[in-house]
Symmetry: D3
Subunit: 315 residues, 6 copies
């Protein structure tokens, strides 16, 4: 069973809207090696897990990483939505902001025709989509769950490394601060997950030598990444285990397979995080699309709520 | 951010393996109107939500139902896995159970060629797959999020009703008790979600008359459903809000739009639930596929854990 | 612009329900070489047609065949629906017909788990689906429209011949009379369309020698086909041109390229045809799913209609 | 059975070619909520319809709207083709129009690399494609036909509203007059179809309050739309019933659920419309690709036709 | 550049037709981890390879394995075709073999409705298809080529291991000798390729400990596999390098990472193999579908050939 | 069985990188009518071929063309990779080449956001992808193999003609010399394959008149094509038959059906060709992504090789 808190797992830096960056980030959300995929893959591997009691730490590791990936979907999805929000007025074209739907025949969404994915404006309302950066919808055929423990771990290691590789490339495609803050965070967390699966394979006798982490980027090259690596975020595993039953820490301990001299440690969940907020109305998208009469009804509901909560309990 | 507890949201009744029933249930997991879809649709609608503060109850309703759907994915996925587990020996063919991988040229997986989806045995290891009952992989193109509040609610109402319709049909396809216990539970919860979205539209002025619930099944026709309806489970909404910030109860209150005479109420999360366990080894699937040498390594990890935890903290 | 009449283009023979035959026919409806494809391909080729006035007969030929294909979609779709209708009681399993939805825990749809496409019962309500016989949804990527006239005609000839080949194979898969009456009709019409595109290529200088028709079946082998061929149905082209502007008859004339000694002729539209009816309620599918209260509302609408029509015009 | 007339259902205004606008319009043709989808969905719902005689008006409503959608496919497809036609010379780049295929190594199609969908020039010949604005092919999995009358109507209402929402957004993306004339027409017709399905649900007891039409655009904001709304086009339903058997007018009558003060009325088919013409040759696309020898053959066919028609009948 | 010889890479044992086994084998041909995928993945990795001269052995290893995979596609495709050939008469149903197309209304293809994939008889003519065992068409999205050498090798190791795992499962699904002879051969060759990629990673410092081969099947359990392993076929790598320029042997040498005590060796290409033959006519499939007149034309071509070759050269 | 030589089938001219041209060429590689499709289609047709001994020339023709298509995949894939290689520095933006991965927060891959397919930089490492020019992955559903000889030949003729048509259009989209050298070569080879299938149909009695070649381009219009046509490359068929068993020359002889006055001739394989090389490292793509430590290991492997080869054989 799952619970939710109204906190993003990491803060998103402020910057201007940037639909092209938003589209590049879609690979990290809905791509073959993006967060929707890791989330679903680990949840399926965890549900279908086989073994005896001694194997529980492996299952718990999968469950813990899988639960974190749901929060990553939330983080990168929200980042994309912010990069798109208000995008019609982006890039100095703000001189005469037309935010109303085609008033007097205006064309407030003209930018949509010349952007990474026209669906961001046409099908969605300047929000994230479950597709990759080339517009392909996410597919269940991505999920890998052979049931063979060694193979599933090996695939997961490759999956996290590919996700990290692609995010390193996305970092190099944009200097938008909002985009980079989320990308940098996910690069480091992908490394933590690389460590998790590599360590699990170490417990079965594999010695990774010098090949990890993949890719062999020097974290120092990306300033936003360096800052997080200096904090050791790549060597922490979270359990997100509300009933504290996870045994993932039996695996995630000892020297990091990434050869960076750190020790792996396990924690319950991240502290901090950014409170989740609600995006503003976009009239040119008819979103949420409530006119004064409907707004009045919503307001009435809210006021009714106040009356209700003022009444004594049980009345 | 999301948390997890090692409890299934509902208990699964015991019964024999039944791959045909498992395959029918796949529609409820990975189908166009299944739990993966409702989960993803509401999480995207929640992430991309637009409006002012008065609209927060609508967003929270989406977030709460969406979080419940993750637990539904877990429940139905686990049910499918149980229905498949050990299926090679199903249906009186158990006389000479051959569980080893092709020992002496045996064919322990011959059943796979004549079942609903051969991938259950060939690609997965007698576990759930992210596909529908006809074998189509789940697709991101299923997710609907127009950004227009009325439309999103209207779609969601239709989505839950279609899910409920399909589950009523699945109920009629099998009398396997494990399958029916989960299907019955989800039929009732789908009605609760129908109520949620119908009520939200009522707050905008729609009067549903007599058309709800859809389909117009008399719950009494399905004994397992009747039992849950008698408990009022169709009129409860959960928030799953670990920080208690959800305002969904501002909407989910008052008379049920299902015309069953109940009042809608909101709770934090279900009590009870079934502890999650680990499925046994299936040697004929090479799952988890550990030989004695690798098992010894896992055992050593477990023992090391004991030694570690015996040491004084900080040593 | 298109018009509709409440007549099927050909009669469907009566026979028992037969879900396996229905599924084989799906290839002829939603398959890569089925009627949805021919319909869409010719409508696109007609819309996007290029040339000067002398080329109008070619465009009109495409438009005429394309319009006929919509009626073929209607015919084969209706045939599939009839083959599925009531299928739960098929094949001597009628001893205790349970038509109600799961009354007392009955399983009236148990047949669905062991049929060609479970979606016929689970997603549809014993009706036709826009998919092929292996369950793949129809795809827009099937449509071929290069804009090059010779190529488009060559493809169309190949398309009709492949459709005819597949239908000949379907004929050999079932002896259900309803299935065969529609399949036989479409085999002969496919040959008429082969003739149409082959003749159009003849007008550009190609001589087909002895290769047509494809496949080289002797129509006499299939009794139902022989009957229609004896009537010359393979050598008639319809225009379906309500304003009588089609010039397709400029091409479709002279000796048949099928080498059967007939002359090609053009007519407006087929006479005869079967009146379209409404399929009966299927309670086990919740279709249409109206309970007594909703039925009463529909009845009230019908009565209101009578009152309205009894009133003097303009009142 | 279907008939065709050589008239477009509405006129297309003249303007310059505009491949970016053409691509945006593709969503309205081949998108998940475009005209190919509505057309197919209603034709399937009509074919598979269940009920007793009192339900015939519902079936006829579906059939009538479905038939109109075929004409909408024709209208929007033709509009797209016109917006693409001659596009290589678009936007002031006409200084040295090169229309011949790569003569002397020229690059007359260079524009194709930098346009919405390169397939418009590479796979098609500056014509419409059965894909959406992001290039995804139309899919049969879009079609919804649960067989449950309330659900099918509810889905259709949502479908028309989403189509209308997306077309309102497309309107805001381009000021090309040809694009806007078709988009404006379809916005108003989508509202008419919203009214149709909403009214059908009203007959089952639903009261829509103030939520219709969706989206809550003020039609006045779009001048081309306002003009059509002032004519009441949003409150007319056509039957396209060549044998005059449709009973759709039993449902489509009385006050409009769109709250605009109009009364709904039913007519046979639209008067007017634009005669269908043939697009000119595009040599750079090899379309139709006939050289002088092949053209001479076509001319000979045309002349033969004259001779034939000059002969006395029966000769 | 590629050459071809008319030899299958391994012999196929004789046995009866078996469409269910044929369908299981489709996973090994057109599945996500089948031979079409390995073939394409290695050809793309080889084409796009980056590095300096010292990296040539890695590229050559990819090219060599990739070339072998084309021959594996040929082998498994031919095996499937043989398992399907004549399948209508399979399993004792041969009493009255009807091989003619529906003569007198017979149904020679009735078996097709109840087999793994109806397309084997309906779309193909009892031949192999580019699809997996659940009927999904092969997809280019399967191909993995990140460009990062470590990642590509890691993926390839996982890919070969998954292919081997799935083939071990297919072995357990059928005891048809033709199916098993090909499956056993491919199990052993997949292990050879596991060794190839594992060894390449060893050259970069990874030590695999005891985890290889994956799955941890004892080859002795499958008699047909044991025979080939005893011959050491799992430790040979072929170059298929017609110009003898491959440097793959620089990597494929030394102790096997599979821990079976063998030394890895490299050879040019396999000796032996089975001559490729032509499958017999199937009249019920209209394949090849030549009637006496067309056969006479083919015969005339053959005779003309004899005359031509009897003439003196240059005449 | 297949062999490989380290030669491209044709030389690629030198020119600057050009990602837009690379993307247009993707249609010729991974498109519905591209080289991956022809390759797979002919290999399947050859594997599944039916007939008696007299039909062997037809099978051998398919096998020979199919084998050539593998080399075409290699040629066009390599061309695409070269057009992408170093693309970040393309188009005068070379002033400050940043080739390192985001050093100091640089954005060396910024070009990726505004190019034909962002996946060229994000998923691949400036290399070819198995997708078409609109980004759709190659699909096994493209492969056509009806088993009917006339139909398969007819489809193949149409397929080659469409491939040629599309390549003529691509030629007109770019003047990049590298792109045009490969496109021109493939235009001429497609014509050779048109001739092959047209001639095979001639042997069955069809007379093509003046319609070939398709499209009716005058080869002289494209200078690079004219050069190859003047050499007669469109009238040569290669066998690629390493064991010299092909009988394709029985069909591919006599006057060309393209009406260009040439005689068709058959040869073993092309002479010449360009030696295959290895692309340079791209640090900004982490490809191959080896750091000094890993490079040292590779170098050690190379040196070990020298020592090994210096030792006397058998030591």
């Amino acid at each position: 069973m799952y619970l939710h808190t109204e906190l993003l797992i990491n803060e998103i830096a402020n910057d201007e809207p940037d639909p092209a960056a938003a589209n590049a980030l879609q690979e990290g959300l809905g791509g073959q090696f993006g967060e929707m995929r890791t989330m679903m893959q680990y949840l399926f591997q965890s549900m279908n897990f086989r073994g005896d009691a001694a194997a529980k730490p492996y299952k718990d590791l999968l469950q813990g990483v899988g639960t974190e990936e749901i929060s990553h979907v939330e983080l990168i999805g929200t980042t994309i939505a912010r990069l798109l929000d208000g995008a019609p007025g982006y890039s100095g074209k703000k001189t005469d902001p037309v935010d109303a739907p085609g008033a007097k025949g205006a064309t407030p969404l003209t930018i949509a025709k010349d952007t990474g994915n026209i669906h961001h404006f046409l099908v969605g309302a300047q929000g994230a989509l479950p597709v990759d950066a080339a517009g392909n919808p996410w597919s269940g055929s991505y999920v890998y769950n052979s049931g063979n423990l060694v193979l599933d771990l090996l695939y997961n290691l490759m999956l996290e490394s590919t996700g990290r590789l692609q995010k390193c490339r996305i970092y190099e495609m944009t200097d938008n601060k909002a985009a980079r803050s989320t990308i940098a965070y996910l690069i480091v967390r992908d490394q933590a997950h690389e460590n998790a699966f590599a360590k699990a394979l170490e417990s079965l006798g594999v010695n990774w030598g010098k090949v990890l982490p993949i890719p062999k980027t020097n974290a120092e090259a990306f300033p936003e990444v360096k800052k997080l690596v200096d904090q050791g975020l790549q060597s922490i595993q979270y359990t997100f285990s509300a009933d504290n039953k996870s045994e993932a820490d039996k695996l995630y301990r000892g020297a990091s397979p990434s050869n960076d001299g750190t020790e792996l440690t396990t924690e319950f969940m991240p502290s901090g995080g950014e409170p989740i907020t609600i995006a503003p109305e976009r009239r040119e998208e008819f979103s949420p699309g409530l006119d004064p009469e409907l707004l009045a009804l919503i307001q009435a509901t809210a006021e009714e709520e106040i009356r209700q909560s003022d009444r004594p309990a049980g009345s």
